[in-house]
């Protein structure tokens, strides 16, 4: 038994089956990511005004990753075009390039961007203790400047392992943080300009009373709504990249070469379908990049 229109398009619709299938699948994916992006909108607009974090991500690295992903989207089109021109060698080169770009993207994401945050710590100060830390928060300065923002969080890294243990230990009363540039000099107007390159950490260390801390966490999903959405969306996006790479990998196996020799059009169709998926994955990143890195 043969299913009709798997390779040749049906005359009245002008489409073969998998092309409709992938577009429907992508429609569903739009709704999936739409749900997550609307959660971002909902949480960001529902947040206490002026408290949504800014400038915690590395913009140059994010930009590089964006460029890499777009490049891979271009090369997958070349791979498809090579099959249409019946040049399998050329297809293999471009498909290899696509896989390489995707792998670099994932490598930067999982090997550099995420882990860089895991040892970064943020402590939200109780409202009634904010005055004690005014030197690191600069709320008076912010009010004068009319920035419309309020700072309740002190961020930095634990200078020693003992400080981390003091934070975990319920008996300990205080711990120390090596401050980020923003908290080290909260009245420096430079803090409030957009920064392409992250500002280096200061040498200033501050002691924080644990009873003054409302909520503290490393920069992991539980830190705040911002990181919750960030990790969830980029994580789910990363899973999609990984899935795409696995499928691309399959199309580099000898089994695909055999399919190409038997029915080159069928092989080209497969690359077109997975290419559409890859463009979608790219598009999700095009939305995710500005909302997390830039805005």
């Amino acid at each position: 038994m043969e299913i009709p229109y798997t390779v040749k398009p049906r005359p009245d619709t002008g489409l073969w089956n998998a092309k409709i299938g992938i577009w429907l699948f992508l429609a569903s994916e739009v709704m999936l990511f739409g749900g997550l992006f609307s959660a971002y909108v909902f949480l960001r607009f529902g947040a206490v005004p002026g408290t949504w974090p800014h400038g915690l991500l590395n913009i140059p690295v994010g930009t590089l990753n964006t460029a890499i992903l777009i490049a891979s989207s271009v090369s997958v089109v070349f791979a498809w075009a090579a099959l249409k021109m019946r040049n399998f060698r050329r297809y293999q080169v471009f498909m290899g390039l696509t896989i390489l770009c995707g792998a670099i993207f994932l490598g930067i994401k999982l090997g550099y961007e995420w882990p860089a945050k895991f040892h970064h710590f943020g402590a939200y100060i109780n409202d009634d203790a904010l005055y004690k830390y005014e030197a690191y928060l600069g709320n008076e300065f912010l009010a004068e400047e009319g920035e419309g923002r309020r700072r309740t969080e002190i961020t930095g890294t634990f200078p020693t392992h003992e400080d981390h243990e003091a934070w975990e230990n319920p008996e300990a009363k205080e711990f120390r943080l090596r401050l980020d540039a923003v908290n080290a000099e909260p009245t420096n107007p430079d803090n409030y300009l957009p920064h392409i390159f992250p500002r280096p950490q200061s040498d200033k260390v501050v002691t924080i009373q644990k009873e003054d801390v409302r909520w503290g966490s490393f920069f992991v999903p539980r830190h705040s709504s911002y990181f919750a959405v960030y990790y969830t969306i980029t994580g789910l996006h990363g899973i999609h990249v990984l899935a795409g790479l696995i499928v691309f990998g399959y199309f580099m196996l000898p089994v695909s070469k055999r399919l190409y020799e038997r029915d080159p059009e069928h092989m080209a169709n497969r690359i077109e379908v997975v290419g559409l998926f890859w463009h979608f994955v790219d598009l999700v990143w095009i939305f995710a990049f500005p909302i997390f890195y830039l805005f």
Partner: protein
């Protein structure tokens, strides 16, 4: 083609012609044949339906005779679940588990797989003259994902602390903080398994819906234009769109709730959340309303996922048994398209009581009232189609005709709920329970029964017993109303849907309606007895039912043009369609039905 013999060679003999014989595993278990997958879906979903019904019968004991030892099952459950049923008496937690799982199982593991997965898979490709689904392997994957999702859901009964107990809606922050802490496994606990199972089930329905839409668009037989498509296929097509577009937001929400539970995020934990008298160790900043929006964005279209295939089945059965064309086919088609579209914009009418604002409420009140227009058109068309027909009251037709008033009651009791002000009183009472059960139980389930009795001869070559079927029908009809009508009365008196003792605690307020609890419970148990007749009829008829030909109901649509049961690949001759789906009693024609694939009138 009119000389086409009615009985084709048996499928086994036929398969030798162009196929090698499939082994047991690839024929019955990992099958890619849409008919076998449809049957797998059907049997699995019927088992889940029965299981969900048993959960409900247990709950009805607690509601009618609160705090008393359960007869029959009490001893077994008391020793199997000593924490949940000590001495055969149900604990409040276990009652909550049963409630949450009854809802989840009936909807996501029972009705949807049955009306969409089973009937859609078996009948739709046959009705459009296709050899199989467009993506047979995805189809198999869809079934097995459903199976795995179902097993994970069932497994949650056996983890420490038992199954999910935050209602089938899993509203946070309650759902975020339940089943966590001492005595619970961090991953293998009721609520997390519920979320896992839901995510898997949504994957399954995604694959199914992509497959359905592609099949209807691409694999229609030559001549089968959109306006010649049987209404059942239209209903399945719109259902598939709803599954495709409405389910993923819940998947997103499921991922977020899983993050809340496993990674400690605060998607749904608001600022200042207090748990057990202490500030919860969460960052806050989340919103429980976000979950409700995402959940109901799925769960309202879900209602139409439950009802549209049912309307499709009923339409097929009614036209066939009135022996006349449907009264306004095009109106039906456009109504079902509009219904599908509008159903995506009514979700927040489930949230009038959340304080989301009067302007938002007014918007959703308006869209909700608009939805009733296409619904009423559909019901009116079905009703008028009966007019002047020479009706054959066989078992499928009895179920199909009963569907109309039952769905009518369900629909009309929904109107007061659409209005913000009235909903404030009726929200979360038994009135709601009565309302939607009228739509799903004597509505959809009756349609499913009609479908089973109607297509059984195509699946097996034998009919189910009409006598037993009629006993099953009348018993079910009476019992269903005994169960669900008192709910409307109780609800208007203010009985809340989540009271675990049936309202005894509030006896002073609801004393005049309290006695209905026992009536409804007995109705449910007797309904269970009548379903035993159905199960017996189903099993008995597979081997002993009366043998019939390829087209026992003298039907026009394409599924009756195949051999019985249809072989792998379905049709033994090329199919071409010459006319609309419901050409019964055409003036001047020799027979009272003109099959779609028949070139002569």
């Amino acid at each position: 083609m009119a000389t086409q013999p009615q009985t084709q060679p048996a499928p086994a003999g036929h398969e030798h012609d162009d196929h090698h014989e499939l082994g047991f595993w690839s024929k019955y278990v990992f099958s890619t044949d849409h008919k076998m997958i449809g049957i797998q879906y059907g049997l699995t979903a019927l088992s889940f339906l029965l299981f969900g019904f048993i959960l409900m019968m247990m709950m009805r004991w607690q509601l009618a005779y609160p705090g008393q030892t359960m007869p029959v099952l009490g001893k077994i459950l008391g020793s199997a679940f000593p924490n949940q049923m000590p001495g055969g008496v149900m604990t409040p937690d276990f009652y909550n588990s049963l409630g949450a799982m009854h809802g989840t199982i009936m909807i996501f593991l029972g009705i949807v797989p049955l009306s969409f997965g089973a009937f859609g898979n078996y009948v739709m490709p046959l009705q459009i003259g296709a050899p199989d689904m467009a993506f047979p392997k995805l189809n198999m994957l869809s079934y097995w994902l459903y199976f795995v999702g179902g097993v994970s859901m069932l497994a949650s009964f056996f983890v420490p602390g038992g199954a999910a107990k935050s209602g089938w809606t899993s509203y946070p922050p309650l759902a975020n903080i339940s089943d966590i802490g001492p005595g619970f496994h961090p991953f293998f606990n009721g609520q997390t398994l519920w979320l896992l199972a839901m995510v898997i089930l949504i994957f399954s329905s995604l694959l199914g819906s992509v497959n359905f839409i592609t099949t209807v668009v691409q694999l229609r037989a030559p001549g089968l234009t959109w306006m010649r498509l049987p209404f059942f296929c239209w209903a399945q097509l719109i259902t598939a769109y709803l599954l495709l577009l409405a389910f993923p937001p819940l998947q997103a929400a499921g991922v977020m709730q899983t993050m809340d539970r496993l990674a400690g995020t605060s998607f749904f934990n608001p600022d200042g959340l207090i748990v057990a008298g202490q500030a919860a160790a969460v960052s806050g900043g989340g919103s429980p309303l976000l979950w409700q929006h995402l959940f109901w964005f799925l769960a309202h279209p879900e209602v139409y996922v439950l009802i549209l295939p049912a309307i499709g089945i009923v339409t097929e059965v009614i036209t066939n048994n009135t022996r006349k064309p449907i009264w306004a086919y095009k109106a039906m088609v456009f109504s079902v398209v509009v219904l599908g579209f509008l159903s995506m914009f009514v979700w927040a009418h489930h949230m009038f009581l959340t304080g989301m604002g009067t302007k938002v409420s007014a918007f959703f009140q308006t869209t909700t009232v608009m939805v009733s227009v296409p619904s009423v058109i559909i019901i009116t068309v079905l009703l008028i189609s009966l007019w002047g027909g020479s009706i054959r009251f066989n078992t499928p037709m009895l179920f199909a005709t009963a569907f109309i008033p039952m769905f009518g009651i369900g629909g009309l009791t929904g109107l007061p709920l659409a209005f913000n002000a009235l909903d404030l009183h009726l929200h979360d009472t038994y009135y709601i329970i009565g309302h939607f059960h009228y739509i799903v139980a004597p509505g959809t389930i009756f349609a499913v029964f009609a479908g089973i009795y109607y297509w059984f001869p195509k699946m097996t070559g034998r009919t189910m017993s009409d006598k037993l079927g009629k006993v099953h029908f009348w018993g079910s009809l009476v019992c269903m109303n005994v169960i669900f009508f008192p709910m409307l009365i109780q609800g208007m008196a203010g009985v809340h849907r989540r009271w675990y003792d049936g309202g005894v605690t509030y006896e002073q307020i609801i004393a005049p309606v309290l006695h209905w609890n026992a009536v409804m419970s007995w109705g449910a148990w007797v309904l269970g007895l009548f379903q035993l007749i159905f199960i017996f009829n189903l099993v008995w008829s597979i081997r002993k039912g009366r043998k019939v030909g390829d087209n026992p109901w003298d039907s026009t649509t394409l599924e009756w043009q195949t051999p019985t049961p249809p072989p792998h690949g379905n049709f033994t001759r090329p199919i071409k369609v010459y006319r609309g789906p419901y050409e019964y009693s055409v003036p001047g024609s020799k027979k009272d039905f003109s099959p779609q694939a028949d070139p002569e009138v």
